[in-house]
């Protein structure tokens, strides 16, 4: 089956049980991801933004089934992988990889870089034979712009930015089509962030990769993504192309997020929307639209039901869930 979308997620939900009482019975559930539907075209980047606890990491991991989703469909290359068994899933995972936020915690300190990069190829039986393997390892290091002598070194000998390059090389080792990037640059220093972002964009072009780019930094997401989804308490509240989202955001939360980012220009004092209060606990989200207690446009309608997904007229990508859109 050929479709222009590499990945389609339909009504994906992940509930985590809350256990309580002496018997440890289930007394409720946290809906970390609630009925999320998304599509990613081949070779494009979908950005996923939201504040801590909104479920963006859970969503990213559910797609790889590192966290088992409760319900919904994940259609990868035209096939629903939700019910795949372990062996079949392993084949799929060769095509889908993940890069984590903390490059210090995601590399085994006792393995050399050569060992780290070889492991995924061992598992998937790729590039076997000493010469072929070595050639492939050099190729990987070259792709992420690290010197050849890195192979025999250990992770502690590298800086944060270099370690993130190693993580990227490890993800690339199995020649994936799709990579979930879970906050790949937020732990890095400012001057190094830009280097890694550029590298990821070059790799995407050269290897025709598809990214799900998860971050809380809207500036970086905006920069790297074709389409951006904004998440709040387990729900996608707005999806749009990167330029539409910034230029004409429909959801008040998106607008507030943008206005909260301090701009590196002291002459531009932007009109700032300061949201009152904190993000509500996902264990007990507010009735109706989850955002209504912090929203300055909230009316009685918002307290009743969660608004349906609405498309912006005249746009193919722009959708939002709000009773009081801004435009």
């Amino acid at each position: 089956m050929s479709s222009e979308y590499l990945l389609e997620i339909n009504n994906l939900t992940k509930k985590f049980p809350i256990k309580g009482g002496i018997l440890g019975r289930e007394i409720g559930a946290v809906k970390a991801v609630n009925n999320v539907s998304l599509k990613i075209k081949k070779g494009e980047t979908l950005g996923l933004v939201g504040e801590s606890g909104c479920g963006k990491t859970t969503l990213g991991r559910s797609i790889l089934r590192l966290i088992e989703p409760t319900s919904g469909e994940i259609i990868f290359n035209g096939e629903n992988i939700v019910n795949y068994n372990f062996a079949k899933m392993r084949d799929v995972r060769r095509k889908m990889q993940i890069i984590f936020q903390d490059p210090y915690a995601s590399l085994n300190p006792r393995m050399t870089i050569g060992g780290i990069l070889s492991e995924p190829m061992d598992i998937h039986k790729l590039c076997e034979g000493k010469d072929r393997r070595r050639k492939r390892l050099y190729e990987l290091l070259d792709q992420v712009q690290l010197p050849k002598d890195a192979l025999n070194k250990y992770p502690h000998e590298f800086s944060g930015g270099q370690r993130q390059r190693i993580c990227i090389a490890r993800a690339l080792a199995v020649e994936p089509e799709f990579i979930v990037c879970d906050e790949p640059v937020s732990a890095l220093d400012v001057s190094v962030q830009a280097q890694v972002v550029n590298l990821m964009m070059d790799l995407q072009k050269d290897l025709n990769l598809t990214y799900l780019f998860i971050a809380h930094d809207l500036k970086v997401v905006e920069y790297i993504s074709n389409k951006v989804a904004v998440m709040y308490l387990g729900n996608i509240v707005e999806v749009a192309s990167a330029s539409e989202l910034y230029g004409s955001s429909m959801h008040p939360y998106t607008k507030a997020l943008f206005s909260a980012i301090p701009l590196p220009d002291p002459t531009k004092k932007q009109e700032r929307i300061i949201l009152q209060g904190d993000i509500p606990s996902p264990m007990n989200p507010p009735q109706g639209c989850h955002f209504h207690p912090r929203c300055w446009l909230a009316s009685d309608a918002c307290k009743g039901e969660y608004p349906e997904n609405t498309s912006v007229p005249g746009s193919t990508t722009h959708q939002y869930r709000c009773f009081h859109p801004l435009h």
């Binding site: 504040e51 909260a260 701009l263």
Partner: protein, 330 residues
Amino acid sequence: MSEKILEVKDLVVEFNTDRGPITAVSGVSFEVFKGRTLGIVGESGSGKSVSALSIMRLIPSPPGRIKSGDIIFRGESLLDIPMDDMRRIRGNKIAMIFQEPMTSLNPVFTVGNQIIEVLELHQKDLSKPERVRKGIELLKLVGIPSPQARFKEYPHQLSGGMRQRVMIAMSLACEPDILIADEPTTALDVTIQAQILDLMNKLRDELGMGIIFITHDLGVVAEMCDDVAVMYCGRIVEKSDVRSIFAHPRHPYTKGLIHSIPSYDSTSIHKKEKLPTIDGMVPSLFELPAGCSFQDRCGEVKDDCRGAKGSPKLAEVSSGHEVSCFSPLD
């Protein structure tokens, strides 16, 4: 210009390590004025936190020590006074808030208890009920809803933003002259960061404190600060008022930092051009090159930068704008 309350002069801080001594801060000077915010920007390891801790005399010793230089607070050198006197200043006249509100609050005491502790130490003439009343007032001042109830709660019952507000309330308990904020919003979400920055600006104007704001986020600097000092490898490489540093950075490092931030004015989105970057990475303090520490990453590097003339000194290039570079940008 308003009244100068703090002056740091040629501060040098060294740490002993297994591989020999390293100089974390080498020859840093800056001033803090009443009612103004000084931003200290730099990447990890640039010495910004060590400079701040030196002002509080909180450098762990050993292994660290202030090797030379002076810190003058209201005409008095903080490095000469005995520790007992320093304790009277610390938390009272100069207060500090840290990046991680969770680790800087004691989990086994209530929030109220911890605020009162500050008052017990520094305002001994207050009676107990007066302290409680003042504690609740402080929580109200920093915008915590239902302060009376929150006063009796433990840190784990509060969200990250609330905890940072409690930290600010504690630091303001004695109406300090100077507030040192070490990355106070780095651990917070952007919408909460906006609340905290707004609060700090408001309190500065109301109470007329001088603030030293340490951060790596140039956006926050542009938003918060009046003056900026950019640090690199233990030195201040550029110092100026906030407008001229953003409009006209003279040090290649500052310029690189400002340009490596993706901006989203509509033009840049459509172009999808590469982000300008600074090549390479911050050198290890053990292997600093002779001469300018930035030479290996600098696009403008000249022979002079390689050590023949020593390290560049901070010098004024235009009124109030200082830069330490042998060939400053035009």
